[in-house]
Amino acid sequence: MPEPLIAVDDLVVEYPSKGVRRHAFRALKGVSVDIRPGETVGLVGESGSGKTTLGRAILGLAPVTGGSIKFKGREIGSLGRRERRALSSEIQVVFQDPYSSLNPSLTIEQTLTEPLMVRKMPKNDATARVRNLLDQVKLPRDALSRLPREFSGGQRQRIAIARALALSPEFIVCDEPVSALDLSTQARVLDLFKEIQETTGVAYLFISHDLAVVRNISHRVAVMYHGEIVEYGDGYQVTTHPTNPYTQELLLAAPVPDPIRQEQRRIERRAFLAARQSAHAMAS
């Protein structure tokens, strides 16, 4: 069993609220996850469950108030800005919104070379690297001199992936990277993620609200609810035969694209909800 690349242990994140005598908002209430090299861990949950916060905490963009985040055995939960910057070649990100994650006034070349320039890479090497990246994400080379607005959502997401890959990181946080894309584009971008993982050995934390997407890409899946992980395990198990009631509800709520099986699932869901209600009634 290889040693985990990322080990999150009992992590607490609290956002201070404005005004006196108000309690801080506790977005994560003691979350533990581990991700091994070359592995995809899917993180699924509904809005406000804290799944994005976990990704941002690993990236150093959310205030960690308790617990630890270890990267290759080294604590990174409370690094200063300077030390954090040094980590940028190892931990990267692809965001959900392909429209606001690229600066509209910079060309694709400027966007892609930025992380390389920060590392003081010579200009020629940087240009060669960027061309290589475009090939990797299957975009034409003439894309370099264009602006983000000339690309479709799927193409922009490929550019964002290329930027994340620029420094050859070992770990990428993917925050709902296919949620804003059309169905067919979504499938192709997911294939790209898998292909890159197989060739580079990068590990992903793949955040999504969609169980089907998470099942497609993840080796293991964690389910979040109200700032806690309620189920964590093998991807197939969690997304097809969940044991936690919340995961079960999540699975039954997603409509199947088949009228006959969906009717079946609707009946199962109704039975499940009725059983839960009667259990509640019994308890009270």
Partner: protein
């Protein structure tokens, strides 16, 4: 239909259009005739002021008792003033002082305002509160009174007055930069840059300052104009430093000699007016170009659509929609909505019309739930909006008819249409929150349409609203009735909107992606609700969605749209069981629900 193919379609004729739209702001500004004229006038004025010693041999302060109030000509190009000083030289040298003074005020305001705005906007915290407090105070101060007081205390120095005025103008820059920066600060590309290891200073200069650069230039030219006006005003009133030539001092002198030599006020007056007009026109031209650079996103979307339309080739006259025959044994319900040959287009700047919906025919029977499904840009929402006659600005129904019980909605006048909307046709939007007015209670927003559409009394409307809220599964109707939209969750807000949609007993409800913005558990509840309501009230629903799961769950019949056309239509069961059109098949292939799980980590490693 891959993305690469789309790029290929764009390649020949569209890229040139895109390139033209993208050319740099400065270059485009220089192509604007108004801008170039205003800019040349400004450059001329500045050059004249700088080169003053080369353009006149007179000392602007050289008093000559012998040549008081001489007319133009005779050695003095524009004559002399009340103290025998050469007007032309005073105009040139006056330009130096006037412009330099205004520039000083602008620079002080810009430096302090931009720096303050950047720091407050990017870092926030205590500096933000302090800076906001100071700018509010500055804005509350009456500028002229402060300047007069400063003159009384510090003496009549042009520079001191202009520095103080510059400080008073700081809010103009601060507020602009602060608003822009705090907007950009939370953009994901700033987060991405931070994750890439880019330093704060570099993020500010590269990612943030580029966004606010152009509005700053615009603001500076406006502030510069204001500074000239205030300075000239003070000098004209005699509060300025009389020992230096300024346009204001010249106006002051001209005014005292108004009856003896009226032309003395003309020259400084002209100088001020021409400079002011040139600055305003410069700012206007810059703003026009800025707004254009904000526009290409939309223009490009249209270009892409136009390209897609061109790629689709000429419109085929015959309709090649795949139709699944009805297998139902009972007699079909009567038609409620019959759309025939509908085309929707957006006229472009070059006179052509981009068709986003083309030759669409659709039948919806009474009491059925019809799904209109497709990817973004397929025209499904445009079709739905055509039925409501609520197309976005510029959109028109070009051809075809939309018959609701035999009445052609594409022809009725807007007053009649207003009557139909909300009455016979109701609408459920995608974003529940943005479709409720935050300043009115739920109760008001629910009862108002019932009172105007159904003409019921206030008490009856309230009773009906409470009943409806209970019907859509809101646990405490009384409390929700009295609450404001921000007190509701997204799912509750959508229930309220559904209650509103069915409140006036419509024949047809158009639901535009009604569950897309909701969590999956809430989505399931809303789908249940729509199904129950449909069963109880027998209402007909046209539901626009991209989600095949939603179609499978709710719809009796479904139509698949691609590039503005319906490619396949039929009963949900037979279409899902046996999709015929290649596009429909490709969509079904892309559905992930059917795809196998990734497999376990150990398998991959071995």
């Amino acid at each position: 239909m891959s993305e690469a193919a789309v790029t290929g379609v764009l390649a020949p004729d569209v890229t040139s259009e895109i390139r033209a739209a993208r050319s740099h702001l400065a270059r485009r500004f220089l192509k604007n005739p108004l801008g170039i004229a205003a800019l040349s006038v400004l450059v001329l004025i500045v050059l004249a002021a700088i080169c003053a010693p080369l353009l006149t041999s007179y000392n602007p302060n050289g008093v000559s008792v012998l040549s008081i109030l001489q007319g133009p000509g005779a050695g003095h190009l524009l004559g002399t003033d009340g103290a025998g000083r050469d007007v032309w030289s005073r105009l040139l040298f006056g330009g130096r002082y006037t412009l330099a003074g205004a520039l000083l005020a602008t620079v002080v305001a810009a430096v302090l305002g931009i720096a303050g705005g950047l720091v407050a906007g990017y870092y926030g915290k205590w500096f933000e509160s302090a800076a906001s407090w100071v700018t509010t105070l500055l804005m509350a101060l009456p500028g002229i009174v402060v300047l007069l007081a400063a003159r009384a205390v510090l003496g009549p120095s042009l520079w001191t007055v202009m520095i103080i005025f510059g400080v008073l103008l700081v809010p103009a820059f601060y507020r602009l930069v602060y608003a822009a920066v705090s907007g950009v600060r939370n953009e994901l590309f700033v987060d991405a840059a931070r994750v890439s290891g880019v330093s704060d200073l570099r993020i500010i200069t590269r990612h943030i300052l580029t966004v606010v650069r152009a509005p700053i230039i615009l603001q500076a030219s406006i502030v510069f104009g204001i500074a000239i006006a205030v300075q000239v005003g003070l000098d004209f009133l005699g509060f300025g430093d009389q020992s230096i030539p300024t346009w204001g001092n010249m106006l002051n002198d001209g005014f005292t000699n108004l009856y003896r030599d009226p032309q003395l006020v003309v020259w400084p007056g002209l100088a001020v007016v021409i400079t002011g007009v040139a600055l305003t026109l410069f700012a206007n031209a810059l703003r026009d170009e800025l707004e254009q650079s904000a526009r290409p996103r939309r223009r490009r979307a249209a270009v892409v659509m136009a390209a897609a339309a061109r790629a689709a080739g000429p419109v085929r006259p015959e309709n090649d929609t795949v139709v699944h025959e009805e297998a139902s044994s009972s007699a079909p319900a009567p038609l409620l909505l019959h759309i025939e040959g509908l085309a929707v287009g957006y006229p472009q700047a070059d006179g052509s019309v981009t068709r986003v919906v083309d030759n669409v025919s659709l039948d919806i029977r009474r009491g059925e739930v019809h799904g209109l499904v497709g990817e973004s840009g397929s025209g499904k929402t445009q079709t739905a909006w055509s039925v409501l006659r609520l197309l976005p600005a510029g959109g028109e129904i070009l051809e075809g008819s939309i018959l609701l019980d035999g009445e052609d909605l594409s022809r009725v006048d807007s007053a009649k249409m207003r009557e139909i909307r909300g009455g016979r046709i109701a609408y459920i939007p995608q974003e529940p929150m943005s479709n409720l007015d935050p300043s009115f209670t739920i109760g008001t927003q629910l009862t108002e349409p019932m009172r105007t559409k159904l003409g019921v009394s206030k008490t009856e409307a309230k009773a009906r609203a409470l009943k409806l809220l209970g019907q859509v599964g809101i646990p405490n109707p009384e409390r929700t009735f009295a609450s404001y939209p921000h007190e509701l969750s997204g799912g509750m807000a959508q229930r309220v909107l559904i209650a509103g949609a069915v409140s006036c007993e419509p024949d047809l409800v158009i639901a535009d992606e009604p569950t897309t913005a909701l969590d999956v558990t809430i989505q399931a509840e809303i789908l249940d609700l729509l199904r129950e309501l449909q069963r109880e009230l027998g209402v007909t629903i046209l539901i626009v969605t991209h989600n095949f799961g939603v179609v499978a769950d709710l719809c009796d019949r479904v139509s698949v749209m691609q590039k503005g056309r319906i490619v396949e239509t039929g009963s949900t069961r037979s279409l899902f069981a046996d999709p015929q059109h290649p596009y429909t098949r490709s969509l079904f292939d892309a559905i992930l629900d059917e795809s196998p799980a990734r497999g376990s980590y150990a398998e991959v490693r071995s």
